[in-house]
Amino acid sequence: MSHDHPQRADAAPPSWWQDLADTIRQRPALRAALAVLLALFLLAVYAPLLASDLPLLAREHSQWSSPWLNNLFNKTYYDGPLDPTFNLLILALPLYGLARWLLLRRIPHLSRWAGALFVLAASWLALDPAANYLNPPDSPRESGLHDLLGAYQAPYPKGVHDRSWQWHLPAPIAFSFRTTTAHPHSAPTWQGRPLLHSILWQGSTDAPPRLHLAPSLPRWRHPLGTDNLGRDLTARLCYGARAAITVGLAAAAIAVGLGTLLGLLAGWVGGWVDLLISRLIEVMVCFPSLILILALTALLDAPSLFHLIAVIGLTRWTAPARLMRGEALRLRQEVYITAALALGLRPREVLFRHLLPNAIGALAVATTFAIANAILVESTVALLGMGDATVPTWGKMLNDGRVFHNTAMMLLPGLALFVTLLAINLLGEGLRDAFDPRQQRQRPPPS
């Protein structure tokens, strides 16, 4: 073990990942894209801290409590497993950071143990919402973090607006993604809008009269205004980032994982395996994939976000599969592949240790495009009104705006989509260059 040779461990060179980090640091576009995506990720994770209708801290009957914290993993309140799973990260990220900072400073080799422990704990915590989702209990279960955080909360806890607390500390935006402002201090109505509002935040005058609250101007309570149901747009945008990240990562993971496996297999094994997989790809490509996705979602009664993820993942694997097949065909001609086989390595080892890392530039580009594509497809499906109606995705928000003929309601999620997709594509471009080990490095050459 390397514990016995600390002096050698100290002299260890920068790892491949450190080299990659150096390369990223030298590319401004890549850095900007990464910064945007990191900000988006943090916004998504900490959405409940920014926008929640539960008081962060409250005092009632001379007792302190935190309805916000107590309901972080309340699946009934959050309506599904998506938000409780993200909420795990609210606590896990700072805990992990703290653990690293405290432990790793002192005991250098503990890092991988801390990491493993963290992954274990996180997966145990994530199992709880996952199990509840797959197997909804008749009565609310008290398990996982509920035990740690105290008593089980009512399915729909009283929020900031429903209960007069003795004292409470609200979130910066005191509205969740579905809190409708239907109280006396509601937004100025659509009919009585001021001039500027009619230009920027206009609802079309042709719109049929509806039994909706009007979308409101930005005010101090609603920094970006509200939608037609009086729901805060800022809150919905933040929670929409969660849906976008989930759809992007999960659908891309399915698509790229399946595509890489099949593509590599086709290119590496060749023969009838290649023939079979290539024909399968061609058959898949023959269907217009959006139509296929719409047809598959139509088969499902009320498609949830996870159904959509599965459908997108299972229909979008052909592009990465073709790419990886080409990479496998190209790279298996390389002398170093033959050289690795001549060392007596298993073909599987050669495929995954030697061929795959050389295809990682292409894989990174394929993955980023797959992520962007999945987000876009989900938005399209939602825009057509066939998405998951319970999750505030950006596509759903676009659809709401489209139906209500409201510029702001379409502009804001559209802008969020645009910035996200642009950043992801920039990241893909940058990664493709960064992963190429023959690029110029600023590392001093060994003398």
Binding site: M1, S2, A339, L343, L345, N358, P446, S447
Partner: protein, 340 residues
């Protein structure tokens, strides 16, 4: 054949390698019989496309598979017939008992891994723990004359010169102390001085480890300095097989003689370089009879009709030619010095 040597480390008998493509069936190697004793250096010589590399790769069954190929004949290694060995047993052979060095040091390394990673990987047969494997890797590097090894373990292949890379490749091939090392044009891509150093290293290691060396080359200079015996290949067949001195001084096959005359000699007056007229026929267009007859100065009717068998010229000198022993007329006449 006289290659049925029971003590041979490697014995190929009637090796045939045929590629099957949609367009044609290509016999790349036809009836090659060779044997290599432990600790011996056998040079496999011939022009491009004569089947040298295919022969070497077929021993380890490493031929690329998109053109499907069939290997016929027997390959005995260490007394075992290995041409029908299951893939699992073959993997244990590769790297552990037979090492291989490839021609192009610029392409034989995976660009995403460091030199140290490559070396550690070559030690995978030995199942060493991490510090021991690192020590062994360093020892290997210093054994191939690699300077300041400890730092260079962390270098990427593209940061090293071709000569250094080839030294690493040799170190990797020697990692498990194989009984046989196959060097496929291992010095061809290098500068002459580097080439000489690498050859000296190879030869020295071969003597120290008592390892057999199959040296594949088209450079007779390499043969002269390094080999014990020479097998000359032409169009997928062995045309001459003899000790290196016999070949260099008394080559019996006109093709070998032609090859020898192609070497520019500094002691000779300047003039046009010699060449064998024509080119090696591609495998699917080989002429009937002796495959060399269209380029041979002695060719007659027999050569066009009948393929000459490999026959003993003397005890350890075999040649496949109907007119073996005839000397090619000195074409030097053409290259007379222009000024008296």
């Amino acid at each position: 054949m006289s290659t049925s040597n029971q003590h041979a480390l490697l014995a190929l008998r009637d090796l045939q390698v045929t590629f099957h493509t949609k367009a044609a069936t290509i016999p790349a190697v036809e009836n090659v019989s060779l044997s290599l004793d432990p600790g011996e250096v056998l040079a496999l010589v011939g022009e491009s496309g004569c089947g040298k590399s295919v022969t070497a790769l077929s021993i380890l069954r490493l031929l690329p598979s998109p053109p499907t190929c069939t290997i016929n004949g027997t390959i005995h290694f260490n007394g075992r017939e290995i041409s029908r060995l299951p893939e699992q047993a073959m993997r244990n052979l590769r790297g552990r008992e037979v090492g291989m060095v490839f021609q192009d040091p610029w392409r034989a390394f995976n660009p995403v891994y460091r030199i140290g990673d490559h070396l550690l990987e070559s030690l995978h047969h030995l199942h060493l723990d991490a510090p021991r494997a690192r020590e062994r890797a360093l020892a290997l590097l210093s054994s191939v004359g690699f300077p300041s090894s400890a730092e260079r373990l962390d270098a990427y292949p593209h940061e090293l010169s071709g000569g250094l890379r080839q030294r690493v490749a040799i170190a990797m091939a020697l990692a498990c102390e194989p009984a046989l090392l196959i060097a496929d044009e291992a010095t061809t891509a290098l500068d002459l001085t580097v080439q000489a150093q690498i050859l000296a290293t190879l030869r020295q290691l071969q003597r120290v480890q008592k390892m057999a060396l199959l040296l594949i080359t088209h450079d007779l200079g390499v043969v002269a300095t390094s080999a014990d015996r020479v097998a000359v290949l032409y169009a997928g067949r062995v045309v001459e097989l003899a000790a290196v001195g016999q070949v260099l001084s008394g080559a019996a096959h006109p093709y070998t003689q032609g090859l020898l005359r192609c070497i520019p000699r500094p002691e000779r007056p300047r003039g046009e370089l010699q060449a064998i007229p024509g080119t090696v026929p591609p495998p699917h267009l080989r002429p009937p009879g002796c495959a060399f007859h269209p380029r041979c100065p002695f060719a007659d009717d027999t050569c066009q009709r009948q393929r000459p068998p490999l026959r003993d010229l003397s005890a350890a000198h075999q040649v496949a030619c109907h007119h073996a022993g005839l000397r090619v007329p000195p074409l030097d006449i053409l290259a007379e010095p222009r000024d008296p």
